[in-house]
């Protein structure tokens, strides 16, 4: 083994991105949902704004439903999970049936969550399956290259979402160094100055707060 086509390398990268997108947006969704329990005010529009997604929902109730389950909404969790699956299913020989099965389980769990009276617990199970997916990939992926490409995608997505969603500075900083150590191993051509630019934008919490958009712009140009 060891030979990976250009298309597969892209699928690995995007599998990493989409699984991370599902994971982190579910976490953010859960936090937002929890906040509305006490505050009872409309918060979802700010979430859409920070995520950079169009507010097509109209109300908080519609948002909480559709952001999870509307497959016609390209920003929804179900759409991201479907895209993760589209990339994973063609990589069975690289990531193993066992790893792929966790994506299946997450998809099934998301469907169940739709009619569940314990929705947040179902969402927790999806996070568990995604953790299991990543553990399985670590253990079973055929090659180091595959792991590196997937993790590279994962940390790019994580950086993007952590910066947008104002995750703690420590978490942003940690994910930057994870990305930095992985990107060189992935073997994908990237713009080193953009990576350095991101580093400069997160040199301290204050600098990050002033340069969030710049950091996101540099991230967007990392592979251009």
């Amino acid at each position: 083994m060891g030979a990976i086509s250009l298309e597969k390398s892209q699928q690995m990268y995007w599998l990493g991105r989409y699984t991370e997108r599902v994971f982190t947006t579910l976490q953010a969704y859960t936090i937002l949902f929890d906040e509305t329990v006490d505050e009872r005010q409309v918060l979802y529009d700010k979430f859409c704004q920070t995520m950079g997604i169009p507010d097509v929902y109209g109300s908080q109730a519609v948002f909480f439903e559709n952001f999870l389950f509307d497959s016609n909404d390209s920003s929804s969790v179900v759409s991201s999970l479907d895209r993760a699956f589209d990339n994973a299913v063609v990589l069975r020989d690289e990531i193993s049936s066992e790893s792929l099965s966790y994506i299946h389980l997450a998809m099934e769990q998301l469907q169940m969550a739709r009619t569940s009276r314990e929705r947040l617990l179902d969402l927790q199970s999806i996070l568990d399956y995604l953790y299991a997916f990543w553990g399985s990939v670590d253990d079973r992926a055929n090659s180091e290259v595959c792991r590196n490409l997937m993790k590279c995608g994962r940390y790019v997505e994580r950086m993007d979402l952590y910066v947008r969603l104002h995750f703690s500075y420590a978490e942003v900083e940690r994910s930057y160094y994870k990305l930095r150590s992985r990107i060189g191993k992935a073997g994908m051509p990237y713009q080193e100055e953009m990576l350095d630019c991101i580093g400069e934008c997160i040199i301290s919490e204050e600098v990050l707060n002033e340069n969030r958009q710049k950091a996101l712009n540099c991230l967007a140009q990392l592979f251009s």
Partner: protein
């Protein structure tokens, strides 16, 4: 083994978890669906399997000899055993393959031979599939998951392990490898059998390649690697039909082929499994002649029987077919997947006459067979045990030697009135247990 029934839900859940699906196109839309699995297996006693094994090896060896002959000296035609019009008018005969000797002289590496067991216990060959027979992955993964769900059943029954299919396939690929990596070539994600392609790639440790991943340079096939270091390909287990394989040799409009692949193959630089052109030997018309091939090439009597078959192209047979059409099953030789199969007894007087006219007009297009009343297999339907028609696809692999996988795909009809078992027409599948004693 009936205790497996109570675990049906758990086993099906596992099959869904691992994505055991097949694709189907309806109204030009791709749908993926679970392949209905019945937990009650087909059981083949050890002695019966020994008999089948001998017969299958004999048949596949004769078919390989036929293919080698047809694309070279054509002695079987010269000696009047197979009429030449049957060869040259077959859509599976590819003149582009004339004179090509594949690595180690093997044409059919993976043969899917369809059998049925009649009510009296006699086995009959229904069809040979020597192009890209599919289906091995289903009993392979079903066994794996069934063992996991209810291991006690496997303690109590002495069953030959079928989980070696990946090893057998890898050895078969290596037996003809011309020096390079092994790839399984799939037309893509939306092929009906994509699950199988990807699963077998995993089980054989081969690379699952899409057509655009391969290219040919100086008659050598390479896998396009993202890091700019192409890998030489030594063997391709292709899951793409002959006509789409190389647009420069076959259909020029093919978008899923690899240009110049046939040149690399002709030069002996890559093995293609199964070899292009095999369709001439699994043609429904040629089927009639397989027992004669066994006698001709191997100087042996056929161990396994064909279903009694008539070729309307022969006058004597045509007279019989026209007189007895309502008792026979008629097959269009150009069709596959259970399509083009008509039971004379199901036709109205008007349709029967239409069919007779068609047979007289295009006698080469059809074969007619006596109806074999299959031994029904017990199957669960909505929690109730029912009897259903079933066939068996045996997988015969030819590498250094010819071997029969001690399992197979048992397909059953979910329609009580139907003999058609194909998944594309709603059929389900069972595991096939070969007892070890």
């Amino acid at each position: 083994m009936f205790e497996l029934v109570e675990h049906t839900a758990a086993i099906n859940k596992q099959l869904a978890r691992y994505g055991v699906r097949f694709g189907i196109y309806k109204n030009n839309e791709f749908h993926e669906q679970l392949f209905p699995f019945d937990t009650i297996p087909r059981v083949i006693p050890a002695e019966e399997f020994d008999f089948l094994e001998k017969g299958l090896i004999q048949r596949v060896n004769a078919l390989n000899a036929f293919l080698a002959d047809i694309y070279s000296e054509k002695k079987i035609i010269a000696d009047g055993i197979v009429p030449e019009e049957f060869v040259y008018s077959s859509s599976g005969y590819l003149p582009q393959c004339e004179g090509i000797v594949p690595p180690n002289g093997i044409f059919s590496h993976i043969s899917g031979i369809d059998l049925v067991q009649a009510e009296d216990g006699e086995w009959y060959i229904l069809e040979d599939n020597l192009r890209i027979p599919s289906g091995a992955s289903y009993p392979l993964i079903a066994r794996e998951l069934t063992r996991r769900v209810c291991p006690d059943v496997f303690y109590a029954n002495k069953i030959r392990d079928n989980r070696n299919y990946g090893d057998l396939l890898r050895e078969t690929m290596e037996a003809v490898n011309c020096g390079g990596i092994r790839v399984i070539l799939t037309p893509g994600r939306y092929n009906a059998a994509f699950f199988e392609h990807s699963y077998l790639a995993e089980k054989t440790g081969s690379i699952l390649a899409m057509p655009q991943d391969l290219y040919v340079e100086d008659n050598v096939v390479y896998y396009r690697s993202y890091d700019g270091n192409p890998q030489r390909v030594g063997v391709i287990y292709r899951r793409i039909s002959d006509e789409y394989l190389d647009p420069l040799t076959f259909l020029p409009e093919s978008l899923i082929g690899v240009p110049h692949l046939m040149e690399a193959y002709k030069a002996g630089n890559v093995a293609i499994m199964n070899t292009p052109g095999n369709g001439v030997a699994d043609d429904k018309g040629i089927y009639y002649f397989v027992p004669k091939m066994i006698q001709y090439y191997l100087k042996e009597e056929p161990i396994l029987k064909n279903a009694p078959t008539y070729l309307p192209m022969y006058e004597e047979d045509r007279v019989y077919v026209l007189e007895n059409l309502e008792k026979l099953v008629i097959k269009d030789v150009a069709e596959a997947g259970g399509y083009g199969v008509v039971f004379g007894r199901d036709l109205s007087a008007e349709k029967l006459q239409e069919m007779k006219n068609l047979i007289q007009k295009e006698p080469r297009r059809f074969i007619a067979q006596e109806i074999i009343y299959f031994k029904d297999l017990t199957t669960m339907e909505d929690g109730v045990a029912v009897e259903r028609k079933a066939d068996l696809r045996a997988f015969v692999l030819t590498g250094k030697t010819t071997r029969v996988w001690a399992s197979g795909l048992t397909r059953f009809s979910r329609n009580p009135e139907s003999f058609v078992v194909n998944s594309s027409q709603g059929g389900g599948f069972k595991d096939t247990w070969v007892l070890s004693r």
